[in-house]
């Protein structure tokens, strides 16, 4: 049973990773990050259920709570970013890169 949960978790994590790397829309990137988080949550819950230890549950609850706070932060970030450039394409926001060297 654990194996199935873990496989599902790995599949979710991989999808999230691919989304994070390949998509350009910032909102989709954010969703991919959530997917990564929840894949980890799933594996935590599955393992803690399997071991009969409730600390995994506690941990994942905390992660969910933090993810909620994070969501609020991300939303405001999107608004700021959109106001700045009029777009949410991740490729536009690369001012830290070597292209912008003086």
């Amino acid at each position: 049973m654990l194996k199935a949960y873990m496989i599902l978790s790995i599949i979710l994590f991989s999808i999230g990773m691919v989304g994070l790397i390949s998509r350009r829309n910032i909102i989709v990137i954010y969703m991919s990050i959530e997917l990564l988080l929840n894949a980890v949550n799933l594996s935590l819950i599955a393992i803690s259920g399997d071991l009969g230890d409730s600390s995994g549950h506690v941990m994942s609850l905390i992660i969910i709570a933090i993810a909620a706070a994070e969501a609020a932060l991300f939303m405001s970030l999107f608004v700021v970013l959109f106001r700045k450039k009029g777009s949410l394409d991740a490729n536009i926001f690369d001012i830290l890169g070597s292209k912008h060297e003086s």
């Binding site: 990773m17 994070l20 990137i29 991740a90 926001f93 690369d94 890169g97 070597s98 912008h100 060297e101």
Partner: protein
Amino acid sequence: MSHSILLNILLLSPLTSAFLIFLLTISTRYTKQTLYTFLALSGSGSSAVIALYISYMSYFEHKLFVSHLFTWLNISDFTIEVTLKADALGSFMLLFVAPVGFLIHIYATGYMHKDKSYGRFFTYFNLFIFFMFLLVLADNPILMFIGWEGVGLISYLLIGFYFDDIKNTYAGNKAFIVNRVGDFGFLSALMLLFIEIGSGGFSYHAIFSNLSSIESPMLSLIALLLFVGAMGKSAQLPLFVWLPDAMAGPTPVSALIHAATMVTAGIYMVARFAPLYTLTGDVSLLIAYVGAFSALFAAIVATRQYDIKKILAYSTISQLGFMFMALGVGAYSTALFHMFTHAFFKGLLFMGAGAIIVAFHHKQDIRELRGIRKSVPTVFIMMLIGSLTISAIPPLSAFVSKDAIMNVLYASHHLDLFLMALLSSLFTALYMFRMLFVLFFSETTHEATLEPSRNSVKSMIYPMAILTLLSIFAGMLNLPEIFGGNLHISYWLDLADRHFVLSHTNEIVLMSGNTLLILSVIFYAYKRYAYNDTILKESNTGFVANKFYIDALYNMIIVKPLYLLSVFFDRKISHELIDNTIDLMAFNYRKLGKFFSILENGNVRFYALYMLIGLVLGFIYLFLLLKAML
């Protein structure tokens, strides 16, 4: 206790005034010249008074002044104390260094009047007095070396005093570099001494009492290297080349540093190490021969020079050669006494030359300065007395001192030395009176006057008058027995003199013979140079006029190869090899950096990709590690 304080004041008053003048020069630009004058004269004047007192006490009451200042180094059983000690030799040096220094200070206030670097000049001048005292009063060779280097530095600074003319800077550099050769010898000698007997303490007293434990070849080497140092400082063959060029400095500098005091440091040093040189007869003989050749060489060259100051510079080399001859045959106090009188008459001659230079607006060529007796009568009289003195005409002071040297040389049975000395003294009379007759006894070509009403001129004339008196009468201090004296100075100094026996008849014959020869040379010079223009017809070619091509020779064998070598290193090694290697490395680093900067494009998604790659690689590594462990 109070006496050690005297010694400290003597040493520190010139230093203090130098420092104060320095502060004034750098802080304000419009200070009154009077303030500088006051500071400079009070610094050197107070030390001159103390110096006279110290030598008085030393001479009459045989008092030894010692002042222990502090311990400089203390490494296990080796200590270097900074101790000042005015023994007989030290106070004898003080006796002429300090007063002559003071007189030339006064003279310089007139000579440098209205100079824009007045303050800087007196900073150096006072500092020179300080270093000279340090050299003379040091109780160990290391402290002496500090003074030695200090006076060398000041000499360099003052030769290149008017540094806006590049030639003066070159002359300063030449003096400094040639002196380095000598200092290398001095320093090596000190190191050898230290290796041999350094464990027994390094004061003069300790060194001389341990000399017997050094093997004789080593002792000769040390003596020789020390003499190389003296050779550099006292401008003997082959290291004399810097002194004629050193005349680029202002005339008071030439009078004080390059005639009266600093260049005699070599004589002082050899005399100070007299216990060492009495043990090494062969080195002493070498000293005598070097002195003889220098004396003769410089005297011959001086007969074909035209610059007043250069004639006097070669004359200084020649006189120093006389002193080294006396040192070489072991008559230390005789040499020192000639140094004593030399300080007076050579200082006087230089000051006279300076007065003429000031009066005629910095003309120095005797061919352009003919017939100036009417313009500067006072200077003429003083220069005449100075020239008579240096030519050793009785009863002037140099007669006493130089004749003592001649007697010693004759009595030492080195007839070749004696003949060279005789010949050089004849040439001395020739070049001095050539200059004198050309300057004062020929048709007037110039109208100029040294206005005696001006204060600056007065302050030049009075010190000259005092020095004139001194160069007439200073010989009284060391009259030989034959004139009813009893060699006071020699007994006072009490050095390890070799005593030569010479009958009175011999002495009288020598003296009168010398004097007659010199007088006839003067007569010849009068016939040849007075009231005609022989001097203008002299050609510029030939061995003597070109100083025996020694400067050219040095240029060819030392300066040129060094220059070419440094050009080679500059162009080939530095520019092509080292610079290109470094450029290549920098170029490659930049290439590499360009490549890596492609990765860092600022796009978050790519960073996530790199993280993923890193993670995957890490997991693969862990996986392999686990597999290997199981």
